[in-house]
Subunit: 308 residues, 2 copies
């Protein structure tokens, strides 16, 4: 199921390196060109044999590629777009894997030539780890990949990209960049922001030591530290580039939290119970949709589980 002769991936972190592995494992292309601004990263890619060629200069890396995938923090797209613009092949597809989409079109459309197909994308998948060693081919299996093609996008190019994600085991959804940014603000950006925030709050307490926070983290806190361990540069860029939707969702979150705070202050147990009963249902639906583990505690291992 070879869709492309040569694919260039710019940025070889968790996602870029997982895409490379998935391309190979599923025979989606013949050749992979790796590009990364960090010589250290490129050396690892070479050692792990994740690509057929490693090139540090982005303009040279896109030479001869039918598909170019940006997998760097979204704040870098403008500069990378300028650097590669003159070297892109006629009719090449340029896509990305960034967590924000509105800004991508804005940053790239302005600098890329008319003769390439710009089709932004976002696989809703990941782990808290970073770097080329952290990637794996099955990262996208069972997850959704969102494409946000411009209205005048070439249907054949969109279809080809769709088939690439499907070859990785993903389901594909097409939507506008604006809607993507709103949906992801609540399903991804705000969860990360409040996770980062509570870890910060816990660190700054005078009455509770850091060591106590760590010892007793199994009470719920530790769950939040996982996504708060995600890549700082990537996430800074997400918040700077999806400001409007994040502020809108954050306003709603805070409003709802204030209502809960008031219910606690006034001892309104019914309000608490009603919310707490409903949320269990949402978990059930996520498991039914195959988007999380049915096993308790995310399937975390517990020593010598009892069989009785």
């Amino acid at each position: 199921m070879t869709l492309f002769k040569q694919v260039t991936i710019i940025g070889f972190g968790l996602i870029g390196s997982s895409v490379a592995r998935a391309l190979r494992e599923n025979g989606v292309c013949e050749n992979i060109v790796a590009c990364d601004a960090s010589p250290d990263c490129l050396a690892k890619v070479e050692k792990l044999k994740l690509a057929d060629k490693c090139v540090s200069d982005a303009a040279k890396a896109v030479n001869g590629s039918e598909l170019v995938i940006l997998a760097t923090p979204v704040g870098t797209y403008g500069d990378i777009g300028k650097a590669i613009a003159a070297s892109l092949e006629f009719g090449a597809i340029v896509t990305d894997v960034g967590s924000v989409k509105g800004c991508v079109l804005k940053a790239l459309k302005a600098v890329l030539p008319e003769h390439v197909h710009l089709i932004p994308g976002h696989p809703v998948a990941g782990t808290e780890q970073s770097g080329p060693e952290a990637g794996f081919a099955s990262l996208f299996a069972g997850r959704w990949a969102i494409l946000t093609p411009p209205q005048d996008a070439d249907p054949t190019a969109v279809e080809k990209l769709k088939r690439m994600w499907e070859a990785f085991g993903s389901k594909v959804e097409i939507m506008t960049p604006e809607h993507h940014d709103l949906v992801l603000a609540i399903t991804s950006h705000i969860p990360h922001l409040i996770a980062y925030n509570i870890v910060g709050t816990a660190h700054d307490l005078e009455g509770v030591t850091d060591s106590e926070v760590i010892k007793f983290s199994a009470g719920g806190f530790r769950d939040f530290t996982r996504i708060a361990a995600s890549d700082p540069t990537m996430w800074r860029d997400v918040f700077l580039n999806n400001k409007e939707a994040v502020l809108e969702m954050l306003g709603r979150f805070s409003e709802d939290l204030t209502a809960l705070q008031r219910a606690i202050r006034w001892g309104d147990g019914d309000t608490l119970f009603d919310l707490f009963s409903h949320t269990r249902q949402v978990r059930k639906q996520i498991i039914e949709a195959g988007q999380d583990e049915e096993a308790p505690d995310f399937g975390r291992p517990h020593d010598s589980p009892s069989k009785n």
Copy 2:
């Protein structure tokens, strides 16, 4: 390592039934008496053979027991204490597994006779599941159990209870109820509250459908739905009974979140980056302390992981 002849557990949900299994598996007592207000639950306990005797009347259930463990929502303690007070053996230990400790002493000390040893406790362990089927013996292994004995507590009784938790594989820490309630407010209660809250916020959006929230939950949201699937009655009682510490911590959380909101609004990337870099360190410490999985994504299985 038999510490008790007979132990009564009142409340046979996830924690009560896990305690019963752990008592047996580690030979900590000779007989277990199960008590639960729900006939349906007691029938399950009988079917699963989790106890030597099932008794629906709490006063009768404590007859002849050296240790009585309350494992019901903390809001029920006052009534249960009144019901069992006259039937408790001379010198019996009364403990609990509740997530709030200040209110326990208040509710139980007022109604229990002088001749019993009241030593509140809290194993910082659990899953999002409920009921007697959900428990397992190793739930407490590697986790911390906190005891909050009154100042005049009998050292021998405290030591015996400590040895019970150690037999389950727990590490034991002793602290005041006030300090417990402050520490757990940040490591457990606030995490649950904001998890419940964001699931509620996501449900109430007009611009984003419930089905979209579920489909794209792997972006981070799904992590929150796990703890937001915890038992509603138990958690209602936690918030109603740890009002002061929860409101204090919630105030700090909201203050910090407002600062982050301001950084996003004004494009202050450095503030975001600094916080996001620090939080990674906290995750590392939690893993080093053996309080969470080192494997990425909590060790969630991914289909056919690549080996390259």
